[in-house]
Symmetry: C2
Subunit: 421 residues, 2 copies
């Protein structure tokens, strides 16, 4: 017997029939003797419907009130799931964010969880009930309703698991785990049985849509045992965490693994754009003069490259989210060029970032060199390079995205699972 | 300047365009200097959609969870109206039942309001904000979400008006006031400028759909100045209670009116069925032997007639809601007939109840006799008669419903407004 958190997303809750399926699975776990907390999202499409309705009423809706409207989607879900559980003879109770006591800051539409009251949930668990909690929502210190932003239900689940010291938090999604890379690009991609927290964090930050990065950060902070698995397949899912499949996120490094595996997965992202400030003076502090105004405008800069200067001039290149490209150019024109004497701004939307991730590369050389060797053989030109302790990222022309992923997946032999060197 | 409560129903809130119209009206009142509280229902159709969704998940949904689901309709409405007000430059804040502190008992789906906290609303009013409150909902002593039952938003509005001692509570509906009778039956029906609380209570209990009876009871208990008026017409509605039209419910009896007006209105209802227990012993206590088991089954009995007995036997006739007719017959067969030796049960669905209402009839004879004189002239047979201090009700064959209403409306000269005798 264990204390278990299940989290089901909008697809799993997408229809009355699917909600009854979720209830059947939760009932099985409950009847196997576990204490159960279930965190759910709004039915698929519902949040978009509510946001569209708000836009019809107000072109730029007040954010406090937008959260009041948006949180009703999850409230419907918890009521429906709790009644479906009761129909199966399982005592259950739904709880909205304010009923649990999920306390957030007051940043409407993107609030951050401060604390979660354990008592109300604990009382219901002790009474033998399954507790069905609305994801994505909380209340601020003034009892205003807040939301955690898109994908926030994952964060809710992990935060609640941390608050009650759950034995495991199972995130049921429409994929059955974390893969060595996107199986739609590389059919031979293998599912990982486990992945280190740091690797998962890198993959999430690289745009993997499996888990929201904030939920991974939260899991790491409280070392919540977290598993990603499929909600749709596997009707005979076992009812103990020892027996289920999916991918478990781990915090203890396995020394044996460390010896061998270098690369765990390949991620790619097309969400960035490249900006080059051409022919700037190669003087100390030039990076800060360029990037300071960008950061002040709340634009996230990811990769940065500065070439060695020639004749006291150099090119300065960096990447930003594509959606911020226009704003970036505006900031450069108004706040940067006039002060540094730069000449020209070159931009490109047609780039992709390919990242090779693995905690093993910490203690192994040769990862980067293998990448640089494999790609040119397919005539893929590397435009930028960035590295961290457990990641090497490359920028290539967007048209080579899939090819680059396949080449690297093969170069590291990931079709056999995490690679040894 | 006054403290005003507006209440808008589902039709008024039925689309983004209509919500913006409501916002424009509220903004006008606010800008005229009033402190404003607005109580709203769910958008028309929304509550039915949510209940149908619940039925799809669970054939007999758990009532606590049904309330969790149903209350989201009003929560969407308050968010949308508050953002529409902000777009008009009016500071506004939405409040769900738990945020106000609308405390009810724990009778899910038909809870009764116990108390309403004044403080939270008052703080927002003092800060100059329009307070937009979700109707129909509250919380029980254990912080569970409850609903007041269908039409409960009227009750919410009146209860809030009572709690904050509002100067007037305006109920905006799809009719422009209370009429001497249903204008669809009698085109000459006149709108009443005011009506006494007791008359309104009788009309509501007689099935008038303009105001929910519980809201009228609540208004009477706290003497809330209550006005019914149209939300759809009158775009240039004045912004003071002295100038608006509609029908005002009053508590002070106007002595001048009392002298003159006898009959205020005619109501009719087709919601009842007639049950006769034939040839029962005419003994003391027979009524209680028949009606006791009916009451114990929570069936409301309305009119009751017992004829004078002949040869120690009599007929006992009463009316019940049509929806309870089958159940009534079952109870009579199982719990009554075997014990009293009654012989036969006769039932009729084809009846209508016509009621003549007016506080003036207290001090005037002749109302009943005028009714009994007018109807037979049109060959309308009176099947049952019941009276209260301010009402005379008749049961007639259902096919005469409209004709009986027209005959009586004319007999009391109501085409000229409340009748004098």
């Amino acid at each position: 017997m264990a204390l278990i958190v299940h989290k089901y997303g909008g697809t799993s809750m997408g229809s009355p029939e699917r909600i009854r399926n979720v209830a059947r699975r939760v009932a099985k776990w409950k009847k196997a003797g576990h204490q159960m907390i279930v965190v759910v999202s709004a039915m698929s499409g519902e949040t978009n419907r509510l946001l569209a309705l708000a836009k019809e009423v107000s072109p730029r809706p007040d954010l406090r009130e937008l959260d009041v409207v948006a949180t009703t989607g999850e409230q419907v879900s918890i009521g429906l799931l709790a009644m479906a559980l009761k129909d199966l003879g399982v005592d259950a109770v739904s709880m909205a964010g304010w009923q649990v006591g999920i306390h957030t800051d007051n940043a409407f539409t993107k609030a951050r969880i401060d604390t979660i009251d354990e008592d109300a949930i604990r009382r219901q668990l002790d009474a033998g009930r399954v507790v069905v909690v609305a994801g994505f929502q909380g209340i601020d210190p003034d009892r205003n309703i807040t939301t955690l932003g898109r994908g926030g239900s994952d964060t809710s689940a992990v935060a609640i698991a941390a608050a009650v010291h759950a034995d495991e938090c199972l995130i049921f999604t429409d994929v059955d785990g974390i893969y060595t890379t996107d199986p739609r690009i590389v059919p031979e991609a293998k599912r990982l049985n486990n992945i280190s927290f740091e690797e998962m964090l890198e993959l999430a930050s690289l745009g993997s849509k499996v888990l929201q990065i904030r939920s991974v950060e939260f899991a790491g902070k409280y070392k919540v045992p977290l598993r990603v698995l499929s909600s749709l397949s596997d009707p005979d899912l076992p009812v103990s965490v020892e027996a289920v499949s999916g991918t478990l996120i781990t915090y203890e490094e396995d020394p044996k693994m460390m010896e061998k595996a270098v690369v765990t997965g390949i991620a790619c992202s097309r969400n960035e754009a490249k900006v080059t400030v051409h022919n700037v003076p190669d003087t100390p502090g030039i990076a800060s003069k360029i990037l300071g105004p960008i950061a002040a405008s709340n634009i996230d800069v990811d990769m940065i490259v500065q070439n060695v200067g020639v004749n006291g001039r150099t090119d300065f290149t960096f990447t930003v989210p594509r959606t911020d490209l226009e704003r970036t150019v505006d900031v450069l024109k108004s706040d940067v060029l006039p002060f540094i004497g730069g000449e020209q701004i070159l931009t490109s939307n047609n780039i992709a970032k390919i990242s090779v991730v693995g905690v093993g590369m910490r203690s192994h050389a040769g990862v980067a060199s293998r990448m640089f060797h494999a790609l040119p053989q397919e005539n893929i030109n590397i435009q930028m390079i960035g590295t961290s302790e457990i990641k090497v990222s490359l920028v290539v022309d967007e048209k080579y995205t899939e090819l680059a992923v396949r080449v690297l997946h093969k170069a590291f032999g990931l079709e056999n699972g995490p690679a040894e060197i």
